[in-house]
């Protein structure tokens, strides 16, 4: 008998979006069950329903054979269902023990004070039992991401979770941390817990799970034993067609230097050094990939280079012209294009039309402005061309960008940036939040542009993506460049992982060779 089973779950959001269409999920006790699917396939919605965040439109959930009604997360917790969200729900300024105890803390003095010692003892005991190492007294904001995740898991276990839902747990982890996590997950299963593991990384599915359920277009495609399947088969089930996750990347000789960044430093308002002494060069016809765990200075580097943030020190030249300290327009006029890491923040204006979104960097120039007046014909010609050229699924350029899917929104960004005849493209997380089909397309575009002579600075949290696309890879840790490597076949994820965690640092002389 499955420990938890969801039958014929239908979820229609109030805006009419069908997020789950007779979705099925059946998880046995003591297994690691992977749930995979493209973005928007409905796996997050299904998990939200299991955890009581969303109510299903129809369908039943049975827990240990009994039909249950999970009305809110508290009810889910009471039933022994725990969830570890991708974005951690921790109080940064509390200690780890306090975070774990929060909400069900033991008290002293008739409930007036919290028994911190008891919380620390509980944390240590749990930590021991499940082999999830944490420092009970450390403040959450001072510990690494991997430990925060373990805190989240302990928090759920502390509340008596028997079934643990892990939502994309590896997205923020380095390869090493991922291995640690997998060990801990196996340990949990040995202790009798059940784990539902949401991911889109098929390699991890193959490695960790016992069974895997694939979702596509709000429906469950199938549930298979991991041992009986392959990555390729899973990918086909996910996408519904054959997927070639290989990019056609011909070798090409790099050309002249384009961007020369020297000693870039950024210190924020509170005095923290977020970017320290970054010196590197990008070249024509080359993709320079930046690897690193998120939050190690990549965002600041990109924003300093594109003029969105004023550098504290250093200088940068594009084709010999200084670009620092003049603001975004000057940078753009030096033919630097920029795909921002969060398109919804500054990559698009969702309420504005596609046409307006496509000209934000050039609206003031001919042919869009003539004699001080905007030429609406030129704007719509432009959007028409780009929609066609970049396969943007939109009937007209007059529609607001907000009506597009994530992948098509990203194509609008890509279309705008690549059509600005750039010398340098700074692409931050270019495939974040887009579906596999669009990822393929964007990867091919980037590589084709590089082959055509464009210099690309690629920042991605997805190490595989960096390794697949880059000609050279630069690793950032704690705001510093800790290594620069040519992307040769002997460069492994594991090796890069050591640099990403700060365990290794390239000698200056060697770094200089590849700078």
């Amino acid at each position: 008998m499955p420990i938890i089973q969801a039958t014929d779950i239908v979820k229609i959001y109030p805006n009419g979006v069908l997020a789950n269409d007779r979705a099925q999920l059946s998880v046995e006790k003591g297994e690691i069950h992977a749930l995979v699917g493209e973005n928007g396939a409905g796996k997050s919605t299904l998990m939200k329903i299991l955890y009581g965040i969303e109510a299903p439109t129809s369908g039943t959930i049975t827990l240990r054979g009994q039909t249950v009604h999970i009305s809110n997360p508290q009810a889910a917790i009471d039933m022994g269902i725990g969830m570890v969200h991708q974005n951690f729900m921790l109080v940064d300024s509390f200690s780890i023990a306090e975070n774990i105890a929060l909400g069900c803390e033991s008290t002293r003095n008739r409930g007036l004070t919290v028994d911190r010692q008891q919380a620390i003892r509980d944390t240590e005991a749990l930590s021991q039992q499940y082999g999830l190492f944490v420092e009970p007294t450390a403040r959450v904001d001072t510990v690494p991401v991997g430990m925060r995740q373990r805190v989240e898991i302990l928090k759920a276990l502390h509340r008596g979770a028997e079934i643990l839902i892990l939502d994309e747990p590896t997205a923020v982890l380095t390869p090493r941390e991922t291995q640690d996590l997998f060990a801990a997950v196996r340990n949990l299963v040995n202790e009798g817990k059940t784990v539902i593991f949401i991911t889109h990384k098929l390699r991890e599915v193959m490695e960790i799970s016992d069974r895997v359920t694939v979702m596509r277009d709000a429906r469950t495609v199938d549930t298979v034993h991991t041992a009986d399947t392959s990555e390729a088969e899973l990918a086909r089930m996910m996408v519904g067609r054959e997927v070639f996750m290989v990019v056609d990347k011909p070798p090409v000789d790099r050309g002249k230097p384009v961007l020369e960044a020297r000693s870039l430093t950024y210190i924020n308002a509170t005095g923290r050094t977020l970017l320290h002494n970054a010196t590197f060069t990008t070249y024509e016809a080359e993709i320079l990939g930046i690897a690193g765990v998120e939050g190690n200075g990549q965002t600041e580097l990109v924003e300093v280079l594109t003029g969105l943030r004023a550098a504290t020190g250093g200088e940068a030249f594009v084709d010999g012209q200084p670009v620092l300290g003049y603001g975004p327009r000057k940078v753009r006029e030096a033919h630097v294009a920029h795909i921002p890491e969060d398109r919804l923040t500054n990559g698009v204006a969702v309420m504005a039309s596609i046409g307006d979104n496509l000209i934000v960097d050039r609206y003031y120039r001919s042919p869009f402005t003539r004699a001080g007046i905007l030429d609406s014909a030129a704007i719509s010609t432009n959007s028409g061309q780009l929609i066609e050229q970049f396969n943007i699924l939109a009937p007209s350029g007059d529609l607001p960008v907000g009506s597009l899917s994530g992948g098509n929104m990203q194509k609008v960004v890509l279309a705008r940036e690549l059509s600005s005849s750039p010398r340098l493209l700074i692409a931050a997380q270019p495939t974040r939040g887009v579906d596999i089909g669009a990822i393929e397309y964007i990867h091919q575009q980037l590589v084709d542009q590089r082959t055509g002579g464009l210099s690309i600075l690629l920042v991605s949290a997805d190490l595989q993506e960096v390794m697949k696309l880059s000609d050279r890879i630069m690793v950032m840790y704690n705001g510093e460049i800790v290594g620069i490597f040519p992307n040769t076949p002997d460069l492994t994820e594991e090796k890069l992982g050591l640099y990403m965690l700060g365990a290794e640092r390239q000698p200056a002389a060697e770094m200089e060779r590849f700078r």
Partner: protein
């Protein structure tokens, strides 16, 4: 340009609606309802200009539909819902309307052809020729037990030689008291009546019971009856036992007088009647504007109701047209009294039923709403006031729409308006001898400049110092208003003026009128406005700066990312908005008031906010919403003048409109949030989950700010 069938249908429909509105408004404005002829139109003052303005109103309707499409319906629905709410509020204010039906002055009268059962009452005297053949004269009066009465009987001419004797008889004919002479004391005391000792006085006789008494006057025993004029007078300090005499004067009071401590709710009046008398009782309101609805009853001496009635027929109203005002008055006609005695006429307002209360409430409300909704078209001068106010509101709406498009919640239009009015007024007053074609443009230009500068200031504060534009503009508004008052009071006000206002602006400094209705004018500001609307539209939709404004409004981080100099644009946006607001001020000074007055705008700019919000900050829709809003304002003034309902009802309607627009913005906000969420659901790879939902909502909030 090729149009799809849908676009053609939309265009056709909007043109049709526009034409319909032109036709309706022209019909009312030219008063074609009274005489549908071309002559009526041509006899209207400045009829061509009136037609022009009506056509412009029609165009504004067309633009509304073309620009907003189905959203236009939502704009109208918003207003309709607000009007319905206002109707309910008006009804609540009118809940006491029915009180008028039980309030007011009334009168009661008893008419009869029969001789009156009594012919005297206290403090009254009668004179009549004494008939020697009859040998006696009888008078009747009604009295109450214990009344002390004094009776005089006298010959008016002492030389006539009539010596009288007077007796008091009760209703049974029993003689209670007799007197035959008047002592010297009495002749002195009643020298107005008595002529000598031959007259007779019964002095201070206390009546033994309630009832009618008879005064019998005879020649004194032993003297001859002589033909002479005989007088009888009756005095008593007591209240008269009877209130009414047949065909006597009407008596009455006020029912339910407002603010009275003990309001009169019913009234009783007595009269004496004899068996067989045919009497008619009338109860009626004193003036025809009193709405009270009366009923009347006749009670016998024991208090039993003999007959009652609450209305009068139409014929009766005509018959007794001197008394009865309407069928609501009450009449008892030709009732035969069953016995001798004292009767009581009882009257009261007809008691109000809940039904009456409700129907009166809605009758009043309907009347008020009729004035409210049709008032501005009921007379051409009200139409002029409507158009004139609309011009100001549209300019302010445009000014607000510009800043709101950039998502800047600047409310500085009020202050810019004051400075605009001041600048144009001062120029007009100072250079009054310049020729008009020079002076008017210069005055307008200075108003625009003043507004520009007063907008630049908060713009700079926001852009370079991060000062919240809402707070800074509100503060600057106060400064502008006080500065205006200071200049007005200490510099411009003529020393001998009784109130705070400048001199009249000389003719050369005024906007030339295109419609002049005895001083109520619509000026060339109409043309200026057409120009401003088009200019604002071109600015926002067709210029690089407009693109910047729109992108800043849609997502300021996106504008920053694209290289827009957002600080400069924000500053410029607020300054450009100031130009339009400044011109609105000039229109107030040079077009409407024709001098500078205190409180030239009382929060007009805030009504401009409603106008802009209703128009979704679309400059082509602002003329419609401005006209709509000004129509409501004018209507409310008519309503206040014509009915008891206060114009504050319009404030309520305004508040409801704002609430509804805010609610609507909330709806869009949630829809936006869902788009953001959908975006982040697809962000599964890197960052999904609930945290993101929240940031999505937060950025949705900033995006949506433009609408709020």
């Amino acid at each position: 340009m090729r149009l799809s069938s849908r676009q053609r249908a939309l265009l056709g429909f909007s043109l049709l609606m526009g034409l319909l509105v032109v036709a309706l408004i022209s019909y009312k404005a030219y008063d074609l309802g009274s005489d549908f002829s071309w002559e009526t139109v041509k006899n209207t003052t400045d009829w061509q200009s009136v037609l022009l303005v009506n056509v412009l109103i029609g165009i504004s309707v067309t633009l509304l539909i073309l620009e907003l499409k189905w959203d236009a319906l939502r704009v109208l629905l918003t207003v309709v819902v607000a009007l319905l709410f206002g109707y309910l509020m008006t009804a609540v204010f009118s809940l006491d309307a029915a009180d008028d039906l039980i309030r007011g002055d009334f009168r009661v009268q008893v008419l009869s052809d029969a001789p009156s059962a009594v012919d005297l009452s206290y403090e009254q005297d009668v004179t009549a020729d004494f008939d020697p053949a009859a040998g006696e004269a009888r008078y009747h009066f009604a009295g109450s037990e214990g009344d002390e009465v004094t009776i005089l009987a006298y010959a008016t001419d002492a030389e006539a030689g009539l010596d009288v004797q007077v007796s008091l008889l009760d209703s049974g004919g029993e003689v209670l008291e007799t007197a035959n002479e008047a002592s010297r004391r009495f002749t002195r005391q009643y020298s107005d009546y008595l002529t000598g000792e031959t007259d007779a006085v019964i002095d201070g006789f206390a009546l033994p019971a309630n009832g009618t008494y008879t005064i019998l006057v005879e020649p004194e025993a032993g003297t001859d009856p002589v033909a002479a004029e005989l007088g009888v007078a009756l005095f008593s300090d007591a209240a008269p036992a009877l209130d009414l005499l047949y065909n006597g004067p009407a008596v009455g009071d006020v029912f339910n007088k407002e603010n009275a401590d003990n309001p009169v709710t019913e009234a009783r009046y007595t009269f004496a009647g004899s068996e067989g008398d045919a009497i008619t009782v009338l109860a009626y309101v004193l003036r025809s504007n009193v709405a009270a609805d009366l009923k009347v009853a006749l009670l016998d001496a024991d208090g039993n109701t003999l007959v009652q009635n609450s209305d009068a027929s139409r014929e009766q109203v005509e018959t007794y047209s001197a008394e009865l005002k309407s069928t609501k008055d009450a009449i008892i006609e030709a009732f035969i009294l069953p016995a001798d005695g004292v009767y009581t006429v009882y009257t009261q307002p007809e008691p109000l039923t809940t039904g009456t209360r409700l129907s009166e409430t809605f009758k009043t409300t309907n009347k008020a709403y009729d004035a409210f909704l049709l008032g501005p078209l009921s007379r051409l001068n009200r139409w002029v006031i409507w158009i004139r106010d609309a011009l100001t509101l549209i300019m302010l709406g445009l000014a607000i729409a510009i800043v709101f498009r950039a998502n800047q919640f600047s409310l500085g239009a009020e202050g810019q308006l004051y400075f605009g009015a001041l600048a144009s007024g001062v120029v007009g007053l100072t250079f009054g001898d310049l020729p008009k074609p020079i002076l008017v443009p210069v005055a307008l230009l200075s108003a625009a400049t003043a507004g520009f500068l007063w907008g630049l200031l908060p713009g700079a504060l926001k852009a370079y110092l991060g000062a919240n534009e809402l707070v800074s503009t509100l503060m600057l508004n106060t400064i502008a208003q006080r500065f205006y008052e200071m200049v007005l009071t200490f510099q411009l006000q003529p020393p001998d003026a009784g109130y705070t206002a400048s001199e009249w602006i000389p003719e050369n400094g005024l906007l030339p009128p295109i419609i002049d209705l005895n001083g109520d004018t619509v000026t060339v500001a109409v043309y200026l406005l057409i120009f401003l609307v088009l200019l604002t539209w071109v600015l926002i939709q067709r210029t690089p700066i407009g693109y910047e404004i729109r992108m800043i409004g849609a997502n300021i981080k996106f504008a920053d990312f694209g290289g827009v100099n957002t600080r400069r644009t924000i500053m410029l946006t607020m300054a450009i908005s100031g130009i339009v607001a400044g011109l609105a001020g000039a229109h107030l000074a040079m077009g409407i008031h024709r001098k500078l007055i205190l409180n030239i705008s009382i929060g007009l700019a805030f009504e401009g906010v409603v106008v802009a919000l209703l128009a979704r900050n679309n400059p082509l829709v602002v003329p419609f919403t401005g006209l709509l809003y000004a129509y409501l304002r004018t209507g409310s003034q008519v309503m206040e003048r014509d009915t008891n309902i206060s114009a504050e009802v319009v404030r309520i309607i305004q508040a409801v409109v704002i609430l509804l627009i805010t609610a609507e913005a909330l709806v869009t906000f949630f829809r936006r949030r869902r788009i953001q969420r959908r975006g982040t659901i697809e962000l599964d790879i890197g960052d999904s989950g609930d945290n993101n939902g929240t940031t999505g909502a937060a950025s949705g909030g900033t995006l949506e700010g433009a609408h709020v």
